[in-house]
Amino acid sequence: MSEFRMPSLGTDMEDGTLVEWLVAPGDSVDRGDIVAVVETEKGAIEIEIFDAGTIRQLVIGVDDLVPVDTVLATYQKSDEAPVPALTREQAAPRQVALEAGAAIQVSPAAPTEPATPKTAPGRLRVSPAARKHAADLSLDLGLMVGTGRGGAITLEDVERAAAQPPAPAATATPTAPAEPAGPSLAGLSPMRRAIANAMARSKHEIPHYYLAATIDMTAALDWLEAENEKRPVTGRLLYAALLIKAVAKALAKTPELNGVWTRDGYHPSDDVHVGMAISLREGGLIAPALRDADKKDIAALMADFRDLVKRARAGGLRSSELSDPTITVTSLGEQGIETVFPIIYPPQVAIVGFGSVVERPWAVDGKIVSRRVITASLAADHRVSDGHRGGLFLAAMDRLLQEPEAL
């Protein structure tokens, strides 16, 4: 038994309504005979049968709307029909097209955010190249000043910021010093270039004022020697820890010296993370943060300090340690320098320098005695503080160092 199906008369024909049968069961038909009339969007079209034979059954009734390829009638092919039975495929390319259409999902444009050490603050305008570079250096875009169009952060801005923790340091894995990322100027190492950028920017943007004070270290050093006698060699304290603690605590009274300056002004920090300027053997400088220096006791500070130096020299600093300092301390005591005139690391607003501990004549109760003294100097951002505040800070620090056991 053969099937007479609703023909496809056009790729866009989906269905048709049978409006008239021109044959009845039992009728014989020849190839090419019109057997029915089908109503389509274009009008009524006569449809033909392509075989010769006898109609058996009319399957679809009049006024039935049926899809293309539906069986309309069955018939018996006559023997002399030379046409081979064709295998009917499932319907239309249109169906395939529909399936393909359903499979297409509109994926919302998801801009790939490169991994940043901190969550990117709000909506930042950052050029793609800058974003990538900052990610490579594990820098926080939120702390950068943008000089591009509409205040967008550009590659150059990232490079400047990279100089503030100057070197492109290694990430969390303590391995051999990582490959410095980013471009280097001819002749300058990346670190040198970063330092150059940072220092140039600092001097260009920050109006520095300088104050110095010479502090009597007798009480501090006496206390230290006594403490160290109780400690094993490995746990010995250095006076640097006292200095750091004093700096950290003294800041409590002068928040204008502890924070960051961004394009929308000064942000004082609630925490005190003291950046420690550490010189590296291959040349260059790095200033990772001793976090929460005001809250740790001397011993803990010491331990952290040791650890920091070790990791800094081995290239194993954490990104947060490079981006966190709220103030920096630099000491050139070992080189025999009396007074340091330091340069502030942007975006910080102050830096404290210490010279070496030296023996100098000192006036005590009207008499001249020999005392161990240290010269502490403060460079501060005059946009945020003035000499009076700076002076208060140094005075506070001096007082704290006279009572070392309270530090």
């Binding site: 050029s127 793609p128 190249a129 000089t147 591009g148 169009r149 509409g150 967008a152 550009t154 590659l155």
Partner: protein, 335 residues
């Protein structure tokens, strides 16, 4: 693209160089012939084919009736039939009448025939605005043609290129459209005496630079170079790329430049919307996104039919001042 040994340079013009290209082709290959309106007795609407009728005769310098579709299709047919026709459509403005033959025949026959037939036809058209010829005679539709698979589209902007691209195009087995920028015909310059065929595959870095990539073609090249000179005086060092081939685009040269400079400005005399500059901008975003330091800028013709009065025409078309502004925008200046 300079000769390895010093060549004898002769003074010439863009027009003369184009004529030389034609003369050379007609001499070299008897299958080559030029067909178009007023190419023979008139000497060419822009005098490019002046003198060629006398030299080569009316069979090979063939004046046609005003039947763009007819003679464009005839060019396709002649190419199919073994000739190497150069069809001159007086200007791109009139090519719209021939669009069917270009898009539906020239571009498709190779594909529709399953590769059996090739159509080695060359079509030359004058293009561009700036001569106060108003709305119907000032189009730059190269971008439309560059949209069509099946044809090549080139835009010679220098004497060397207009002289040399024709022969290369004639030797190419598929259709090539050559857009000659009409306002350039009078441009003076120097041409090597032995100037010959030149490639039609690559863009050219006309001015190397470090700060911004300026990407352009055709008549806009010279405005872009002007802008470059002015910018140099302000310490901004731009790189100027002459696209030369609009289909296919030389992606390699474009991407290498933008990767280096991190900034791109595209100068395109077509109208901004849906222009070739939009295509180039999209490709830059797709391929060198992470090297970009600023959004890609475009300097195009304003969205207006080209007006007749000089000051308005100047305001509508890309100018060096706008190019300079766009460059500065990419550098964060000029907000």
């Amino acid at each position: 693209m300079s000769a390895t040994e010093p060549a004898t340079m002769i003074a010439s013009t863009y027009r003369e160089a184009a004529r030389e290209g034609l003369r050379h082709a007609l001499e070299q290959d008897p299958r080559v012939f030029l067909m178009g309106e007023d190419v023979g007795h008139y000497g060419g609407c822009y005098a490019v084919s002046k003198g060629l009728l006398d030299k080569f005769g009316p069979e090979r310098i063939r004046d046609t009736p005003l039947s763009e579709s007819g003679f464009m299709g005839a060019g396709v047919g002649a190419a199919l039939g073994g000739m190497r026709p150069i069809v001159e459509i007086m200007t791109v403005n009139f090519s719209l009448l021939a669009l069917d033959q270009i898009v539906n025949n020239a571009a498709t026959i190779r594909h529709m025939s399953g590769g059996q037939f090739r159509v080695p036809v060359v079509v030359r058209m004058a293009t561009g605005g700036g001569l106060q010829l108003a709305a119907q005679h000032s189009h730059s539709l190269e971008g439309w043609y560059a949209h069509i698979p099946g044809i090549r589209v080139v835009a010679p902007a220098t004497l060397e290129d207009v002289r040399g691209m024709l022969w290369t195009a004639l030797e190419y087995p598929d259709p090539v459209l050559i857009f000659e920028h009409a306002p350039l015909y009078n441009m003076k310059g120097e041409l090597a005496e032995d100037a010959g065929p030149i490639d039609i595959d690559r863009a050219a870095v006309r001015r190397p630079g470090a700060d911004v990539s300026l990407i352009t073609y055709g008549g806009s090249l010279w405005k872009t170079l002007d802008a470059a000179t002015q910018l140099a005086m302000e310490g901004i060092d731009v790189e100027v790329i002459d696209l030369r081939t609009l289909r296919p685009l030389d992606d390699e040269t474009i991407f290498a430049s933008v990767s280096k400079t991190h900034r791109a400005v595209i100068v395109d005399e077509g109208w901004r919307t849906g222009s070739l500059s939009a295509e180039i901008s999209a490709r830059i975003t797709e391929n060198v996104f992470y090297d970009l330091d600023a959004p890609v800028e475009r300097v195009c013709t304003a969205e207006v039919p080209i007006p007749y009065p000089k000051h308005l025409e100047v305001a509508a078309l890309p100018q060096p001042a706008q190019i300079i502004e766009a460059v500065k925008r990419t550098l964060g200046q000029n907000d």
